[in-house]
Amino acid sequence: MILFDGVLALLIVVLAWRCVTAGDLYLGIVVFIVMGLMLALSWARLDAPDLALAEAAIGAGLLGVLLLSTWRALPGHRRQDRDHPPARKAVRWLAGVASVAFGLVMAALLHALQPDEDAAGALALGRLTEAGVEQPVTAVLLNFRSYDTLLEMGVLLMALIGALLARTPLAPYGAATDDGTDSPLIPVLATTFTPLLLLVGAFLVWAGAYGPGGAFQGGAVLGGAGVVLVLCNRLQGAPEAGILLRLLLVLGVKVFILAGLLMLPLEGAFMAYPPGLTYPIMIAIEFCLATSIAVSLLLLFTGTHGVRVPER
């Protein structure tokens, strides 16, 4: 197995090297996506199936699609490299030397690092029964360190606002025109893959309570379903969002905050769940989070305030 790990690690390094130095921007993006595949594999090897799922769905999957679509939307995307050459040779050498030194130091440190036995994580594993779910990562995300997760939902919301304010939608509002490039395959893809993605996404959210999965992985897959619909022209960007869509966007963060504030007088601490109700509250929060994540990621992809079904 060490040989397998070695080849895997070597491939990751080669891919990362090509990704940052590729002569062609498109090549860099392709290599980045493939590197995502390899990373997910290596994380699976490192006993982190949750993270392999997240990398597959968010890191390589959705981000890869977004990178490709953005590249295609760039004006004159073929001559990006001519217009933006890398830094001068002297800078490159200096940066190269500095980064090699940095890498060697980090490698030496990581080689010598010995985490100790009474880490916070051991504590988390030991008190799992109090957390309400069997899956340790979910317990940390939604109970022990739920505050981080809550703030992270705020990050997602603000990133969305920022993307909207740039006003460069990937899915423009104009009426859908059939420009004759519709392949007969497109309806098939839309009707086959959307339900599959929805099903798998919902399953992953629910599975998060007892096995790998959770709101983020599931939400990303659900968002992927929306992306397929947009790509296949079944959904379209809209300049305005209805109240329902905005409600879904903030559902996760709002339910989270309100639940937390409600616990303040009841249990004496923000987000301290009352014993006995921990599991149902966490599942409810998880589904709300997944919904908001799915809608946010979809709108981050389209870059529009809302989406609508095109009129035909």
Binding site: L66, T70, S99, G121
Partner: protein, 99 residues
């Protein structure tokens, strides 16, 4: 003298390459790629730390990585929207007058 963990070397290489790309590349989209490479190096470091804890993978770094991935992707998505706007404008001015 133990054999170094190949993934530890990979994590260090990702950090170094991400840093190199960030310094050297001028294209905004490439910089975002380099930042993400660096981020993956950080995430791999955290996963290694989690794995080395005696008594099983430590869920806290795993949760940190999950949070980190979502933050990195949302920030990158916002960055990509900015890149589209930036390059569209640069194109109107015939490009190349930035940096």
């Amino acid at each position: 003298m133990t054999l170094p963990d190949p993934f530890a070397l990979a994590a260090a290489a990702l950090l170094a390459l991400g840093f190199y790309g960030f310094v050297v590349q001028r294209h905004p989209l490439r910089r975002l790629l380099a930042i993400n490479v660096f981020g993956n190096g950080v995430f791999m470091t955290l996963i290694l730390v989690a794995r080395w804890m005696p008594g099983g993978p430590d869920p806290i770094p795993h949760a940190m990585v999950l949070t980190g991935i979502v933050i990195a992707v949302s920030a990158t998505a916002m960055g990509l929207a900015l890149v589209r706007r930036d390059l569209r404008q640069g194109d109107g001015k015939d490009g190349g007058d930035r940096d």
